[in-house]
Point group: C2
Chain length 320, copies 2
């Protein structure tokens, strides 16, 4: 693909991995990038509505992300959460002071009746984000996981309870996306996919980051329809050398009966993606993935800095 042209690109993304690739793509595409972001990890804490994946992508695209900590805003302070603890609030979900401002503004606008998509746009514009980040839906969808934890409701716990509070330690036996079947993609999501010149599936957790996006009725179908029109769909593996680059995707794949490998990820995207981007260390998996009916591209997928983010983004766009 000639990346100097302005063919719009859509990325389906979860949090950190999706944000890094989005940052590289935005460097090349600017406003021609639309990120459709997972909302099933969203939660309410202390009466504030929090969108972890959206905000990770937003802060990253705004250049405000804390790269050492790996989440939240750089230069963050923690005075509000310390005081919340004084009032007896459970503070295992750490919120920085400036991050809390995001949640305050979001919550106020949502309570006034604004659509999540419009609220998201206001936040992004305020931070000077060039790309557009779209919630996958304006309806509430919530990921719940069934684990062995004895103190839970039939074993089911909310995503952030598993991810943050229990440090991803419980074994995940089943995943459900509550509300997904009743959700609809927004007109913005439908139009972005319809107008896309290429669709990128980020190296995010295929089960709990990309999974909820595809579980919203109409989104998978729209991606399939785009592909049928000849729009390239490129998936990037978030599993490298059998390990998740970040998060529990590797263990989750295994406990849910999949293989913790790029091949295991590719199997989940078979029939959806037509190009699969594999890290060079996993080159030996290429034949098995090609056997699934996908073209394989092999490159360095580790995004450790701006340069490697942009390089992977260029590699991905060159495939489309």
């Amino acid at each position: 693909m000639d990346t100097s042209s302005s063919r719009p690109v859509v990325e389906l993304a979860g949090g950190v991995g999706g944000a890094k690739l989005a940052h590289g793509l935005q460097a090349l595409l600017g406003a021609d990038l639309t990120v459709i972001v997972n909302t099933a990890d969203d939660l309410e804490r202390h009466g504030l509505v929090i969108w972890p994946d959206h905000d990770t992508v937003m802060y990253t695209l705004a250049g405000l992300d804390d790269r050492e900590r790996g989440w939240g805003l750089a230069g963050e302070t923690w005075n509000v959460i310390e005081q919340l603890a004084v009032y007896g609030e459970e503070t295992w979900f750490r919120l920085g002071d400036r991050d809390i401002a995001t949640h305050i503004v979001r919550t106020a606008r949502l309570r006034r009746g604004e659509r999540p998509t419009d609220v998201a746009r206001h936040l992004q514009r305020s931070l000077g984000v060039a790309a557009t980040i779209l919630p996958m839906t304006d309806e509430e969808v919530r990921t719940e996981l069934r684990t062995d934890e004895p103190d839970t409701d039939g074993g089911w716990i909310a995503f952030q309870e598993y991810f943050v509070h229990r440090h991803q330690a419980p074994t995940v036996h089943e995943v459900r996306f509550c509300g997904a079947s009743a959700a609809v993609p927004t007109s913005e999501v439908r139009e972005a996919i319809a107008a896309a010149g290429a669709i990128v599936i980020a190296p995010s957790n295929p089960i709990v980051s990309i999974g909820p996006i595809l579980a919203v009725p109409g989104i998978r179908e729209a991606v399939e329809a785009a592909r049928a029109r000849g729009v390239p769909v490129v998936a990037v593996s978030g599993i490298v050398a059998g390990r998740a680059l970040k998060g529990p995707a590797d263990r989750m794949l295994v406990s849910l009966g999949h293989e913790s490998s790029a091949l295991g990820v590719a199997r989940l995207y078979a029939g959806l993606a037509d190009v699969f981007v594999l890290d060079t260390v996993d080159a030996d998996l290429a034949p098995a993935i090609e056997a699934l009916g996908m073209r394989v591209a092999i490159t360095n997928t580790i995004m450790s800095d701006d340069a490697s983010r942009a390089r992977l983004a260029r590699d991905v766009l060159d495939l489309t």
Copy 2:
């Protein structure tokens, strides 16, 4: 009065002046002090419910008030409000980071359906306040002021719009307490007044701090009934040498047709208070105030430090 006994004392109070005297009273009375606080200055900003007078009294009684700035918490930081400005929020009502935690907890509990009185108690207990601070009512009462400001709705503006945003510059021609006639005192307020061994009217603004408390149907009557039972009611002048110790009470008294003096204040409390505490510099006003049917006590009413707060508190209790 023998202050070593445990006769409960009720103080009617607004913000800073009421908080200082409450601090002195609490040092002598501990849990035997109940402060009934004005709620008509309360407001919502950024979707957060803010109770300026309650929080001023609470922070002061907790020993957390910033004495140099004169409002808010000591050692406060301002990261949230700076970020709120990035999102285009109007930030003329300055909120510190730790203060915002108070508003977050309060807002969340109110939205869950908790009574304001119970929410207040939770906040106070969390900060280790010995006394009890009661909102004058659990219903919404809002002070509005009619001024000459041309860009307002028939001249009417909300209290904090006048007090903070317009720096108390507009001339106040009329005051109304929206919602007051439909409000009722809580059972806690009624019981506190019924059980009081003495009632103190703080040196707060008589129009917009004490005024709204007395405008809640039943509160003035309860104070009058207590007085009829022989419970002493002591009012402390917040006007000294014709000037308000803090805030716009002096100008407001004049523009509303009263006199900007301790005598002007005393006239507003005639028939309600039976003892009026006058600063030594205003001793010459004693005969005119006595002519209103009040006993006059003369002392130093300036509360510049802990010692002078406690001294005035003791002087007030000695009158009861």
